[in-house]
Subunit: 262 residues, 2 copies
């Protein structure tokens, strides 16, 4: 995994290292030390000299981390052009992105280490519990929302955006379902309201709106009731402990559902 390494390099050594490694395709660079970082683009920022860690991945994404936080201090989601300069005896890296026009400029004051790595293709990440998965499960088992519910469509386009689940209840009324994988806020209610109003105006006079989520905030619940809309508790993940029977079958046929949904 390590293709090249360098410790406590001076400016000249670092420059040589970078000049060489930046030309190698697929390199994953990590440089730790004292740096100054300036960003100008959608916004602009300046970081005083400090101990940071620069990471330049093979896909030309750049991030500079400080000792705190999940998020980097500065970053560049796509580096289109990379320049290596010298300024006042310091090595300077300028990473530019064309659209939006943005620049991250890193000046290396004192470098503790520089690593050039090679990484094999990553093994795929499989994520469960996304809203998309929830949608597939509920589309295959609409009775988990309400007995007698008959699915008519998923992601039905209505003005801007799409209705998560579009269905008909046992009394023949149109039902609009808005899904949230986490606690639903007033924004979700607002989204549901928008869809219900649109369907009411264009399709049927009587339309029910259901917000389906594991939880709902108090203000959202209040607003729901004011609007005559409903809430239905559904979980995005099967229970982690022995309580799997609490929501029987929600994910029982997931693999099959995945296929049937495509």
């Amino acid at each position: 995994m390590i293709a090249a390494q360098l410790f406590q390099p001076d400016a000249l050594e670092l420059q040589e290292f970078l000049r060489e490694q930046l030309l190698e395709p697929g390199r994953w660079l990590q440089i730790g030390g004292e740096m100054e970082v300036v960003y100008v683009g959608r916004a602009a920022s300046t970081a005083d000299a400090g101990d940071y860690l620069l990471m330049l991945k093979p896909d030309r994404t750049l991030q500079i981390h400080a000792a705190k936080g999940i998020k980097p201090l500065n970053w560049q989601p796509q580096v289109d052009s990379l320049e290596l300069l010298e300024d006042d005896g310091r090595v300077v890296l300028v990473a530019e992105r064309a659209r939006p026009q943005e620049i991250v400029r890193v000046a290396f004051l004192e470098t503790a280490f520089a690593l050039a790595l090679t990484a094999r293709d990553e093994g795929g990440l499989v994520l469960h519990g996304s809203e998309a998965e929830m949608q597939r499960s509920l589309a295959a088992h609409p009775e988990l929302i309400e007995v007698g519910l008959e699915l008519l469509d998923v992601e039905l386009p209505v003005g801007v955006g799409g209705v998560d689940l579009y269905a008909r209840d046992q009394h023949g009324r149109i039902v609009v379902v808005e899904l949230k994988r986490g606690r639903a806020t007033h924004e979700a209610v607002h989204q549901l309201e928008r869809y219900v109003n649109r369907i009411r105006d264009t399709v049927a006079d009587e339309v029910r709106g259901i917000l389906a989520a594991p939880e709902v905030t108090a203000p959202a619940r209040t607003r729901l009731e004011e609007l005559g809309l409903e809430f239905c508790e559904v979980t995005a993940l099967p229970e982690l402990d022995d309580e799997r029977d609490a929501q029987p079958g929600l994910f029982a046929g997931r693999d099959e559902d995945d296929h049937s949904a495509r």
Copy 2:
């Protein structure tokens, strides 16, 4: 900056390294190599064995990066408990978070390197061009939105959320301004609509709504016009080139504004 380093360690050496370094406060750990990562919490994920980079910062945030993307493959914004285990001859790190209850489990298959760093306190980051800064500037110079506009309030609470700028125009009409630092979408229009309706219901019959942003999407603009709301072009950052005169004074008195706003 480097407190300890280890290359191509076997399981025993890695375990000893971690046991030692995890007890040291303030350590910034980086481990590169082949790992398997499992996450269970709000959602759940599994990453097949692959070359990843684990970073555990002194503030007990954890992230595991793959070779692609700004965002980590897996992460933990706050590690409340950290456990070092052994499973089938492999070193395993389990990082747990209490609320929400979440676990990230990393199994080290083959480690290329492990670094323990110490980092001085970071120099502060100064960011310009945030919506908050925009708000301060426009609050100090409401004439940049419209001649004769008189500011009444900022972040005026109205039901849920707050009105960015609350003002009165030269004809005495109430004006609600919604700010966006980037291109405004239909969501911003919706937010504005909600505020305008609320003010209309509770304060004055005639209320104007202005969406102030550098740009607006076409659908959002259409929706704005349907609702009888207005758009005003304002920029979040002063121009980067010589065209600073294009928006004279927007940030001219920024420092003073900052003080007066506090």
